[in-house]
């Protein structure tokens, strides 16, 4: 094992972690505002389709990214309308969106490209750096910005207040619904970056493969903290990288090896019981003007 191999392992791991990490970061914002966003998986499906579609149609991956961010925000907006304004159970809303996203992406793929389960390949890609998709490197500044926004800005303080005690926020004159919308939409927008780092060359049905859920696990393991969530995502991402790179060298059936990151997620979360604490009002719809 030489030095360049080790370097490759490190950057490759970053690339593989990035889609999970961006979504986990998004989840932090949503849940800190008090909205559980299990719809991440579905949002990621839609953004990964959108980025390919828009890049092919507009001959630019940057426009693709822009559209993916917009699409992610719009799907998140649906989640916000349903679960914040109409106070539908957030899990139910999220699951519905996940099911809807699968159908929507397949429907659009059929309409646009005449194929239901995959798009043609997209040749407009992000520049590469150190042998990987350069967008993956954005993860580090964005995680730090996320941390700064959450803990050092007025917006962040208010967002966290709404997730902990919406009644108190209301009596202080904060806009509870507005802040929750913001939290959820940020999570959708960040799923645009997940799409940019997942596989912008092509969309294939099922390609997100549960990364939205892994992102939620990472967020919990990261204790609802931006930096924690990203570090946890890196743990899962590197575990997966390890699997990919050494799968063929281990005498265990491939299916078991592929389970590795998920088993890791379950084990890690089970070990977290009683330690992490969710925002007090996480998952609870808030009705204005009530005692």
């Amino acid at each position: 094992m030489n030095l360049s191999f080790i370097l490759f392992f490190f950057v490759k791991g970053l690339e593989i972690s990035a889609p999970i990490a961006f979504a986990a970061l998004g989840a932090v914002f949503s849940e800190r505002s008090g909205v559980i966003n299990i719809a991440l998986e579905g949002i990621m499906i839609v953004t990964s389709f959108t980025i390919v579609w828009a890049a092919i149609a507009l001959h630019s991956i940057w426009l693709g990214l822009l559209f993916a961010i917009v699409a992610g925000s719009l799907i998140a907006l649906i989640h916000a309308v349903v679960s914040v304004t109409f106070r539908v159970d957030q899990i139910v809303s999220g699951v519905a969106i996940n099911i809807f996203a699968v159908g929507l992406s397949r429907f659009l793929s059929q309409k646009v490209f005449g194929q239901e389960t995959q798009t043609p390949t997209n040749a407009y890609l992000f520049p590469r750096f150190l042998g990987i998709n350069s967008m993956a490197f954005l993860l580090i500044p964005i995680a730090l910005i996320g941390w700064f926004v959450l803990y050092r800005t007025v917006f962040g303080l208010r967002l966290r207040t709404v997730g902990e005690n919406p009644e108190a926020a209301d009596t202080l004159g904060l806009n509870v619904y507005g802040l929750r919308y913001a939290g959820v939409i940020i999570s959708g927008a960040l799923c645009g970056l997940s799409a940019a780092t997942l596989f912008p060359s092509q969309w294939i049905s099922g390609m997100t493969a549960g990364r939205g859920y892994i992102a939620l696990a990472a967020m919990i393991f990261g204790r609802w903290d931006p930096v924690g969530a990203v570090l946890a995502s890196l743990l899962f991402g590197y575990a997966d990288t390890f699997r990919i790179m050494f799968e063929t060298k281990i005498p265990i059936p491939g299916q078991f090896v592929q389970m590795f990151p998920y088993v890791l997620a379950v084990v890690v979360l089970a070990g977290m019981v009683g330690k992490a604490r969710a925002p007090a009002a996480d998952g609870k719809p808030y009705e204005k003007g009530e005692d």
């Binding site: 800005t153 207040t161 902990e164 202080l172 004159g173």
Partner: protein
């Protein structure tokens, strides 16, 4: 005299089926404490929520310093100089004191928080009003009395001149209440006006310059503090004379019903919350636990009532260990429980009174038949009987529990728990937030239960209540019973000191 800060004119507010405020007129002068008293459901909180923009009145007007204004939401109320310390604290426990104070009113540059300027302003407010708090402590780590200071600082920080306190002393020790009143005086000396809601008439008499009594949504009378007396206010509130002292029946205690031996309990963080607690309660005896909230009382009751797992020790009911029994078996064996949080543990709020009144007995005859099918007629019949015995004010037994006033909700729980005819009654904060009429009633019911030979464990943050009802008193501090008294051999002040742990280490 001095200038009028606030005038509320003919405020009317109707909720479905209830006229909560009926042409209430109320005013507040500069530098005064104006108390607002009345039975549960009289409309005090509603009036204050209207003032704070949480409800909009159906008619009537609000004038501040002579100027008519409309307040549509709390933000506008804050801008008009109105601040409110709510019945339930509006704090964010994992945040620091400083963060809690500045939320919504932050000092910022380009959206980035600045904590230095606010810190300076807060330090100044703390000094001027005698509200010393560690600004960088997390709210969840400080005691309730101090949390209340944070609430007050929060509204002072917003420049409030009209301060509303909705039952602020319900959670305080007598010493803390005195501190609060000192702060009141400091604030009124600065020309602020204070509206003070309380069910504790002694406090009202002590601090209020004027007292407005409301009954069933209407103003009965506004009294000068000096001309008022406890019995006069009580009579105005209830509409008939009220007996303020409980009559303590002379019952000689019987055999030991509850015995708690060397109980240890740790919370999920492995911090000891109960530490070698031992005591016993006899038949026909009321054993009162005094203590500042959060010193293990909640856990103690939970261990006895709800089969919460304990570290070490034993619980005996009538000589038999119940430590390994589940809740149902304990209830069947004769343990009843009035839980401290009536909304979360005492009632199923959307369910009817009839259903709530049979909870815990619902699986027994005559409420179910052989096949465990519920017999509605029997349940409703039982409910009607209990409602009339316990004087629960409700339109019918089919009304959902959430439609009742706090005092009546509490009566429902007391009625249910006593109608099970227990050997042991665990009464946790039985009259919290309950008006004098209902309090009197509940106290009398406890005395009746005592006469019937039931053992009663009373836990209350209200020291007056503990003092007036109990035969023996144990003071809890940091998970221990640090002192046990017979009622006659102690005073309120002495117990207050023990409650604050000041005599913890044998300093006596």
């Amino acid at each position: 005299m001095s200038e009028t800060l606030l005038e509320m004119r003919k405020i009317t507010k109707r909720f479905p089926g209830v006229l909560a405020n009926d042409e209430i007129s109320f005013d507040l002068l500069k530098g005064e404490v104006h108390a607002l008293v009345g039975e549960n459901g009289a409309g005090k909180t509603t009036l204050m929520k209207i003032l704070y923009g949480l409800y909009s009145p159906d008619s009537g007007s609000i004038h501040i310093k002579g100027e008519k204004i409309s307040i549509k939401n709390p933000k506008e109320a804050i801008n008009c100089g109105i601040g409110m310390v709510h019945q339930h604290f509006m704090l964010v426990p994992p945040f620091t004191v400083l963060e809690n104070i500045i939320i919504g009113e932050e000092t910022q540059r380009f959206g980035i928080l600045n904590e230095e300027k606010p810190a300076k302003k807060i330090r100044d407010l703390m000094e001027r009003n005698g509200l010393i708090v560690d600004m960088y402590a997390k709210v969840e780590d400080i005691p309730v009395g101090i949390q209340q200071r944070v609430e007050i600082l929060k509204i002072l920080y917003r420049g409030a001149e009209i301060l509303v306190f909705d039952e602020p002393t319900a959670v305080l020790t007598p010493q803390e209440a005195e501190e609060l009143f000192k702060t009141f005086r400091q604030m009124t000396a600065q020309g602020k006006g204070i509206i003070f809601i309380s069910h504790k008439l002694d406090e009202v008499l002590e601090i209020a310059d004027r007292i407005t009594v409301i009954r069933k949504g209407r103003v009965v009378k506004t009294l000068e503090g000096k001309e008022a007396s406890k019995s006069l206010i009580a009579e105005l509130m209830v509409g008939k004379p009220v007996l303020l002292e409980v009559e303590r029946p002379d019952v000689s205690p019987g055999r030991v019903i509850l015995e708690v031996r060397n109980l240890d309990l740790k919370d999920y963080r492995k911090v000891a919350v109960l530490n070698d607690v031992s005591f016993s309660v006899h038949a026909g005896e009321i054993y009162g636990i005094a203590g500042v909230e959060g010193n293990g009382q909640t856990e103690l009751v939970a261990v006895i009532a709800e089969a919460a797992p304990m570290e070490h020790g034993d619980i005996l009911l009538d000589g038999k260990s119940v430590a390994n029994w589940d809740v149902r078996r304990r209830r069947e064996a004769g343990i009843s429980h009035i839980p401290e949080d009536r909304h979360r543990y005492g009632l199923l709020l959307p369910f009817s009174l009839a259903e709530n009144l049979t909870l815990g007995m619902h699986h027994r005859k005559p409420f179910v038949n052989r096949f465990q099918i519920i017999n509605r007629n029997k349940i409703q019949e039982h409910a009607r009987r209990v409602i009339s015995i316990f004087d629960i004010r409700t339109p019918s037994e089919l009304t959902p529990a959430l439609a009742l006033s706090g005092g009546n909700q509490q009566k429902v729980i007391v009625a249910r728990e006593l109608s099970a005819e227990p050997k042991l009654l665990l009464a946790a904060q039985p009259t919290r937030g309950v008006d004098i009429g209902a309090t009197e009633f509940i106290h009398n019911q406890l005395m009746e239960a005592k006469k019937d030979g039931r053992a009663i464990l009373l836990v209350s943050a209200d020291l007056d209540e503990v003092m007036s009802l109990s035969d023996r008193i144990g003071v809890m501090y940091k998970g221990r019973i640090i002192k046990e008294f017979a009622r006659e051999e102690t005073t309120k002040e002495e117990i207050g000191f023990y409650m604050m742990g000041e005599k913890e280490h044998g300093r006596n």
